[in-house]
Amino acid sequence: MVEGSKKFQIIANIIMVLLCAFCILPLWLLFSSSITSEKTLITEGYSFIAREIDFAAYKYILIDSKQLLRGYGLSALVTIAGTLCNLTLTTLFAYPLTRKELPGRKAISFFLFFTMLFNGGLVPSYIMWTQTFQIKNTIWALIVPNLLMSAFNIIMMRTYLTTNVPEEIVDAAKIDGAGEFKILARIIMPMSKSILSTLALLVGLGYWNDWLNGLYYVNNDKLYTTQVLLNKMLLDTQFLMSSASHGMSIDTSKLPSTGIKMAIAVMGILPVLIVYPFLQKYLVKGITIGAVKG
């Protein structure tokens, strides 16, 4: 019995280590390709072990080219602004829905919920955002469409509030003469720290990784976030070279073009990789409460 158990533990661990390798190795290939010298890349291709290490690609994207740094700044701005607006809207919407006595609560819930069941699709949305709201090539295009608020997150927060904030607390505050906004700010918000962190993480990740809004609504390279930039470069290698060196006399034929792509991709996931270990707890929580009771 004990013997068999030990064997099982060893085999199970081996399987898990192999799976982890399957998850990590592709990312390693990306990183290793980005630090391989251009000469080695041409003879040996993208490989897991760089024979000749060279940080020229990073030097180029961080020092010579302004495009990536600008994209980084824009990504950060969009992520922070978008997440803050999203959380504000979500909290403001979720709290009234927990008040059972609110007239029209059912209808409003349905109004919210229906957006999860049915949608107009890309064509009408695109026509509306570009023609009615003239959003094309503005920073709003990166923040507002689709990402600003989601029924799913509101329902998650509402469920959290109904199970974690006792009605008596709200009632007591009302008897003490507190207005609704005061109750929200002084009682509900402090009690929602955990759900707000979880939502902030999910929403922030959504904004940082978003490239669809950029693909649909932006074609001005001043408004490229990191992900949009990566997306454009994937299908057009020359893009970075042509747009980055305005006014500078860089010999574009000497640029490490094969490595640059990979280096920018690495830069695109770096912030996520850095914060992930610290916030993993909230991410796991978000995934589980989101699915179990959506």
Partner: protein, 305 residues
């Protein structure tokens, strides 16, 4: 009666004020495009806009379903989703069971962290990784092939490989997410069942077969039905960016979402593109209702509505 109603509204005014921004956003972002689906029944003209363009009945739909594309995009969307659901479920359940049977707590946590990592990577970056493996000149796999004395493969123009590539990429990206879900259910199982089973001399396999899997069944059925309800939708990035929008691959990579996008942005075929979008929205809607009804039959508390 009237004054009491007024008073009531006044009493709840702050709550309505809180709801107002969200309601306005939903109207703009969700409901206005819904009314815009009439564009599928029109001969769309940029100058005139959606509502002033002339009607042309269901001509767009007739044109769409006469093409071979309608069949290909429906087949691809549904078949890929079915394979993703089946393989994804089996793999995630297996991993979560192995995780739960492990003894070393620290290793458990580390494995979970690593497996969830690909879920955080944007699909654009995933395309770069795939490109690193499959690029004809510099790709890792072609170099391995050459070193082994074989011919290079032109991956981005050979459709036959792509069903496998897309399944692997999807598994890589989403396996961790589903594992987290199943694992959360597993650690919620009452440990006294296992203790009793051990006392009765049940083997590990018997415990998994008779306790773990039955306890997972509600979660499995609910998550599967949820995925089935989304079977008419596909991950646009996976089917558009990962194959690098390559023409020769269209037969095996074109889904409803990529078709709608190409019609709108690349071939300016707005009528058919909008028709495909409406086709997706309506069938999708029916599937959600159906799935929800089925979930309700398994477990009343887990329905969406």
């Amino acid at each position: 009666m009237r004054t009491s109603k007024l008073r009531k509204i006044k009493k709840y005014l702050p709550l309505y004020l809180m709801l107002a921004p969200g309601i306005i956003y939903l109207i703009i972002n969700n409901y206005m495009p819904m009314s815009g689906i009439v564009v599928a029944f029109k001969n769309y003209n940029y100058q005139k806009g959606i509502f002033a363009s002339p009607w042309n009945g269901i001509k767009n739909f007739i044109f769409l379903f006469r093409t071979n594309d309608a069949w290909i995009i429906t087949r691809n969307t549904i078949c890929y989703n079915l394979v993703f659901i089946i393989i994804g479920t089996v793999v995630s359940i297996t991993i979560s069971i192995i995780l739960s049977e492990l003894k070393a707590e620290r290793a458990k946590k580390a494995y979970q962290t690593v497996i969830l990592l690909p879920f955080l990577i944007s699909i654009v970056v995933v395309s770069y990784i795939v490109y690193g493996f499959l690029n004809t000149e510099y790709g890792n796999i072609n170099h391995l092939l050459v070193n082994a004395g074989k011919e290079k493969i032109s991956w981005y123009s050979t459709p036959g490989y792509w069903p496998f590539i897309l399944v692997i990429v999807n598994l890589w990206k989403n396996m961790g997410y589903n594992t987290v879900l199943y694992y959360a259910t597993l650690i919620g199982i009452d440990t006294s069942y296992y203790e009793a089973a051990v006392v009765d001399g049940a083997s590990r396999w018997q415990r998994i077969r008779y306790i773990t899997i039955p306890s997972l069944l509600p979660t499995i059925s609910i998550l599967t039905l949820m995925s089935v309800s989304k079977i008419f939708y596909s991950d646009f990035g996976l089917f558009y960016q990962v194959p690098m929008n390559s023409g020769p691959l269209l037969d095996v990579t074109n889904t409803i979402d990529t078709y709608v996008y190409r019609g709108l942005m690349e071939t300016s075929n707005i009528g058919m593109s909008a028709a495909a979008g409406v086709y997706q929205s309506i069938v999708g809607f029916i599937l959600v209702l159906l799935a929800n009804w089925l979930v309700g039959r398994f477990d009343k508390d887990s329905t969406l509505f």
